[in-house]
Amino acid sequence: MKRSPAAIALRWSGRVLVAAILLFVLLPGIVVAVTAFNDRALLAFPPQAWSLRWFWRAFSYSDFGRGFWNGLTVTLWASSIALVVGAAFAIAIHRYTFVLKSLLEGILLSPLIIPHYTIGLGVLILASQTGAGRGFPLVILTHVLLVLPFVMRSTFISLENLDGRLELAASSLGATPGRVLLTVTIPLLLPGLLSGWLFAAILSFNEFTATLFVSSQATQTLPVAMYNYVREFADPTLAALSVIYIAVTALLLSFANAFLGLEKILNVDAH
């Protein structure tokens, strides 16, 4: 069957549109990646000469290394604390009815709608009023607040999908409520808890706005270190760092996918 010219035009314009959208999505990444290989100390695109020296600088610049380890420390602590606290709150809110239950849920989920700079500024003011130092506990506390809603959301979804009869069956078999929680509920919530933790960790590691307020030179995370760098230098080191960032993330995700079953951690698989 021969298509009409209008149909062909429509078909091709659709393809062009999709290609344009994809290009638009990828463009910033592409520009940064190409810029990273520019030999000149300018954030210029396209580059005139090629070099790998900015990668070397990204690795040797001590603030970045320290920022990376600081960020990792903050992330591991914050997302783990948020996991325990958030899951406990989520289970309590899901299971029990009590006074001011919806208020509690609203407060715990509020960091979703309160801007990060508001939270950062608030914590900073509180810290200076109470005389608390700007050490790691402060940064970690801020991050816990920020990622708590995501852990709770993910736990809620897992709880919705949990068949209550499994817990009833366990208790009929003689398991005390605590034993039911440890042997049935938590193991079955684990994929949801892990995905909540992973999500929290990614958000925490990339968090910039609130961290800028509450961190100091000693506790600054990688995004804050990058911001401080770009205020002083305009060379492609940040672009190189971005390329490393993308590559490492892709590697980690591939690893998780291949060895841990990413679809399970992200709760895509129904089982």
Binding site: D163, L168, A169, S171, S172, A175, T176
Partner: protein, 382 residues
């Protein structure tokens, strides 16, 4: 020991009339959800080793009653006893009951063997003993060698066997079955029913079985408690529920039944006589205690209790065949009986002769060939 081979072949004692304390007893148990009455003053005694079925449509309160016995719900009023001990406020994990859910509720993250072992581990039994009893339980449900599988690797029927083994291995005081067959296909359902009944009989475990399927209830139970709208309407052996339903609801819910309009003509002792289109039939008098001679009553007649005559037979009900449905071993005939039945009367004609002898439009006579006819007052006045 889970298997009591020495007890194999011993026929089930129905428990009815047996001496001693009941295995399960409900004294006026009531449960409301919000304002809705889910269970209204249930009184029930279940004897040791008895297979008691709770039969009724969805929302009749049968699952609520089961959950109350299991300890998953708390009664608003009344008391529950298991083996004579008051358990109304005992939490589920201390009641020693076994339960099989409709969806089996196997722990998806545990192997078959660990599912079965779960209730033994909570009891702190030593590992060797657990392994031996799990093996016995697997043998009981004919799943030897399946211990290492995960539940999702099993068919529906196999999952049900695991659920049954898991519930039985703890030697429960009562076995609760919550519509366990409804997720199985029809053929498998039949064989699982036979097998479950056999295991129940072998072990002599007191069983409460919840179903909305009257066929399952009639075929498996020692006694049936028919429920509707939160009330127990009748507790009796399957044959009695079928032949002597206590009220209109039981008569129409259990089995097919024709409802014919008649009138009460006589009452003598326990037997009353009703007239249906000139045909006089004896019925139990008790359900008609409120009726006066001459009152209109609804007469309930089973399809298999009707017989065909030629249209001119004296004393028979005259009717016209309106439809034939070939069922293989018998023919369902629908017969319009004017003035007596609002809907066509269903009659089971054995064999296939009726197919040719009673084509649609044939004038036929109907007679009742049974004493198992019951009559109740019409709906509005009952």
């Amino acid at each position: 020991m889970l298997m009591h081979t020495d007890r194999m072949g011993v026929s089930a004692s129905t428990g009815a009339g047996r001496q001693g304390r009941p295995a399960v007893q409900l004294d006026g148990v009531t449960k409301r959800f919000g304002g809705a009455m889910a269970l209204h003053e249930a009184w029930l005694k279940i004897q040791p080793s008895e297979f008691m079925t709770l039969l009724g449509p969805s929302g009749c309160g049968k699952t609520t009653l089961l959950n109350l016995v299991a300890g998953f719900l708390e009664a608003d009023n009344g008391e529950i006893f298991i083996e004579g001990a008051l358990v109304t406020e005992t939490p589920a994990h201390q009641r020693e009951i076994g339960i099989v859910f409709q969806n089996y509720a196997l722990f998806p993250h545990m192997s078959v063997a660990n599912n079965i072992a779960y209730g033994l581990k909570t009891r702190g039994i030593d590992k060797k003993e657990i392994a031996r009893r799990v093996d016995d339980a697997l043998a009981l449900v004919k799943l030897e060698g399946f211990g290492d599988r995960k539940p999702r690797q099993l068919s529906g029927g196999q999952q049900q066997r695991v659920a049954l083994a898991r519930a039985l291995v703890i030697k429960p005081k009562v076995l609760l079955l919550d519509e366990p067959f409804s997720a199985l296909d029809k053929n498998l359902r039949g064989s699982m029913q036979v097998e479950l009944k056999q295991i129940q009989r072998e072990l002599g475990v007191t069983t409460i079985f919840v179903t909305h399927d009257q066929g399952e209830a009639l075929s498996m139970s020692d006694r049936i408690a028919v429920m509707s709208a939160g009330r127990i309407r009748q507790i009796a052996a399957p044959g009695d529920v079928y032949r002597r339903p206590a009220d209109r609801f039981v008569a129409s819910f259990v089995g097919n039944v024709n409802v014919l309009t008649g009138c009460l003509v006589e009452r003598r002792g326990e037997v009353a006589t009703v007239s249906v289109g000139g045909m006089r039939l004896g019925v139990p008098a008790a359900p008609l205690a409120q009726a006066a001679i001459g009152d209109v009553v609804d007469v309930f007649i089973r399809p298999e209790h009707l017989a065909l005559m030629s249209g001119s037979t004296p004393g028979s009900l005259r009717g016209t065949v309106t439809a034939q449905v070939f069922q293989g071993d018998h023919i369902d005939l629908y017969i319009d009986v004017a003035g007596v039945a609002r809907e066509p009367v269903l009659l089971r004609a054995p064999g296939i002769a009726a197919l040719s002898s009673c084509p649609v439009g044939t004038e036929v006579g109907l007679v009742v060939r049974s004493d198992d006819v019951v009559a109740f007052l019409p709906e509005a006045s009952s």
